[in-house]
């Protein structure tokens, strides 16, 4: 016999009401708003970023009055004009772009064989060793790693100690452009390997065997088969390394010893040393613009690589 509805407990009725209300908001089959609700965290995150950028954009158009340390009410392009005409800032921008380019090329050159061996080796020990060597630096922050290089490469460092054993006077290996680039390559290397690994794993070993069976040498297989097939991974890794290097702060600050500023260091100086947030913001906007332009050029020339996430390139 069917029981009367009124004999069910009150909590059951309450749950029915809540379930009905919830299904109105989020229908079981998804409904129109379902995908948008799923996107809401990302929209919130990007929205906050856009808000911050808008604030920086607004500040970049205001000039600092050093008699009151207040910013102008009116907008002007004076900060941008200064940034593009001041020789020091121009040299910092050029140094950053050149440095990021050299670091990207070098890192990819080193990361490719490392990743290839890591992916293809039949030795479990070697694979584990390479993985540990890759991940270990991730547990150590960038600043600590930079200080580590100070200890190793400093005038009283390990390398100079070894050189001293064979009668070579201590060399100054730090506080110059090559030392900053060296530190950046070492920092970026794991990022590049991690971006390259999926691309190389996706290339079946049988393809290499097929190429060799058709008479291709190992070098030819590498040049005409593997490299073209790994192109998407190389582009993805290159984009990540390029943008991270371009905006880096710690390596130029620590290994450059105050003589090799990148744009991020100049921004810090303006925000915190001279209190000119307007000028600092204009440098930040320029840095974003330069980074975006470089990425856009790469997208146009060779596509987005693995960053396209399977979408058709170009």
């Amino acid at each position: 016999m069917r029981r009367n509805l009124s004999c069910y407990p009150l909590t059951w009725h309450l749950m029915d009401i809540l379930e009905a209300a919830f299904s109105k908001i989020w229908p079981k089959k998804g409904g129109f708003w379902g995908p948008y609700l799923m996107l809401s965290p990302a929209i919130l995150l990007v929205g906050l970023l856009v808000l911050g950028l808008a604030y920086i954009g607004d500040t970049s158009l205001r000039t600092l009055d050093t008699s009151t340390f207040l910013f102008s009410e009116e907008w002007s392009l004076a900060n941008y004009e200064r940034a593009l005409t001041e020789p020091f800032i121009r040299s910092v921008i050029w140094r950053s772009i050149l440095g990021a380019t050299i670091v990207t090329m070098t890192t990819l050159l080193l990361a490719f064989p490392y990743t290839y061996i890591m992916v293809r080796t039949r030795s479990a020990f070697l694979r584990k060793f390479l993985l540990i060597a890759l991940f270990l630096p991730f547990f150590i922050g960038q600043v600590v790693r930079a200080y580590g290089w100070l200890i190793i490469l400093g005038k009283q460092g390990i390398v100079n100690d070894i050189l001293g054993l064979i009668g070579i006077e201590p060399l100054r290996m730090l506080f110059n452009y090559p030392s900053v680039l060296f530190g950046l390559v070492q920092y970026m290397f794991p990022f590049a390997v991690l971006m390259l690994a999926p691309a190389l794993t996706a290339i079946p070993e049988e393809i290499e065997a097929a190429a060799e069976s058709l008479g291709a040498s190992w070098q030819e297989t590498m040049l005409y088969v593997i490299l073209p097939m790994a192109k998407s991974g190389l582009i993805g890794a290159g984009l990540v390394v390029l943008t991270l290097s371009l905006t880096d702060f710690a390596m130029p600050a620590i290994l450059g010893g105050g003589t090799q500023d990148f744009v991020a260091n100049a921004i810090y100086d303006q925000f915190f040393r001279t209190s000119d947030q307007g000028f600092g913001s204009s440098l930040a906007v320029l840095l974003i613009a330069i980074g975006s332009l470089l990425v856009w050029i790469i997208f146009m020339l060779v596509g987005a690589g693995t960053l396209a996430l399977g979408a058709k390139d170009k």
């Binding site: 009151t68 340390f69 001041e86 020091f88 005038k155 009283q156 105050g258 209190s275």
Partner: protein
């Protein structure tokens, strides 16, 4: 006549009663008039870390806590990094993140010009201070200077066997290539470089070309550029022979057993001050006790202990110099001691430092 001079018993009683009432009122009145606002649980003082905060704690904060029962928390955020946070809080009428900022006077002058500092001109202990306590280039006392310091030319005696360097020109000797150090924005060196380059101090800020000419000469020596902790490390590691740095760093290195001495070359040395200030936006009670803290920092006892730790000259007359610093050029006390020290108004410095820093970096990074 004799009778008139005699004190009548009734008059005596009346006078005694009145004196008694007056006395009682007198003892109560100050506490009524100066009713202390409620004490906050703690006050937050921004400070530099390491030996700096230890000295402040021993000389000012701990005695203040003992005296008032109010805990003092030291916030070790860098002075230039706390500044935008304080400015934003004041602009948005929020409570600032710190009660008291221990700051360089130059940095603090920016806050004073922006109008975010409380007025401290009626602190009782200011009456007993020297002129050094007064910030130059701003009205009143939005900041109270608490001591001075000198950007000395620190050197390794073994590298200068014929005696201390008499001039910055001595550093142009090729044997010092790669063995000199300066601050990475040139702070402390701009003014003596102006003199070393053949210029005059009254050419600051409008004609600084002699300064940049001399900085360019120094650049050929490939100096190291760094911040305060770097100098001590470089001297300790034997990486440099001479540096333009704050005397406290040189003293710190010496106390750590480094073979180091310092001098003021013939071009002179920059003299500057640090101070304490209170950001606007605190409650009446917090403001009262923050002012009490700064007033306490200006007492002779506090200054003596605090500045013994730092090895710097204070703003109260008659302080006893720390051992070994009496008569030292980095510890000026008499007017004659200031003859070779260069003191430029904080206002001129803050209005021009951005340009000076950029120019110095442009030369050094060129």
């Amino acid at each position: 006549m004799t009778f008139d001079k005699q004190i009548k018993r009734r008059d005596l009683l009346k006078t005694s009663a009145m004196l008694g009432i007056a006395g009682a009122a007198g003892s109560v009145a100050p506490s009524l008039l100066k009713a202390e606002p409620a004490k906050p649980k703690e006050i937050i003082v921004r400070a530099w870390g390491g030996p700096w905060v230890e000295a402040l704690k021993a000389g000012v904060s701990d005695p203040f806590t003992t005296k008032t029962g109010i805990k003092v928390r030291h916030d070790l955020t860098e002075d230039n990094e706390i500044q935008p946070k304080v400015w934003a809080a004041v602009a948005q009428k929020r409570t600032p993140p710190i009660h008291i900022n221990w700051d360089t006077t130059t940095n603090a002058t920016k806050s004073a010009l922006r109008g975010v500092c409380e007025d401290l001109s009626d602190l009782p202990n200011l009456k007993g201070t020297t002129d050094l306590a007064k910030p130059v280039g701003v009205d009143g006392y939005p900041i109270v200077n608490t001591y001075g310091y000198v950007y000395v030319l620190a050197y390794r005696p073994s590298a200068f066997p014929s005696g201390p360097p008499a001039s910055y020109h001595d550093l142009l000797d090729p044997k010092f290539k790669g063995r000199l150090a300066f601050y990475n924005d040139g702070i402390g060196f701009h003014f003596p470089a102006q003199v070393a380059g053949g210029g005059k101090l009254d050419g600051i800020p409008n004609n600084m070309q002699p300064c940049w000419d001399f900085v360019s000469k120094i650049k050929t020596q490939e100096p190291l550029l760094g911040e305060d902790p770097d100098f001590v490390t470089w001297f300790q590691n034997g990486e440099i022979d001479a540096a333009c740095t704050i005397s406290t760093n040189a003293l710190g290195a010496k106390r750590n057993g480094v073979d180091i001495a310092w001098t003021i070359p013939k071009e002179g040395a920059k003299f500057d001050t640090d101070g304490l200030w209170i950001p606007k936006g605190h409650s009446e009670g917090d403001l009262y006790w923050s002012r009490e803290y700064i007033n306490h920092a200006l007492s002779k006892e506090s200054q003596q202990i605090w500045l013994d730790g730092l090895g710097l000259p204070g703003v109260i007359p008659g302080l006893r110099p720390p051992p070994g610093l009496a008569g030292d050029p980095s510890y000026p006390t008499k007017p004659a001691d200031f003859d070779r020290l260069i003191r430029i108004s904080g206002k001129i410095q803050v209005e021009n430092e951005s340009e000076w820093f950029s120019k110095f970096k442009a030369i050094m990074q060129g």
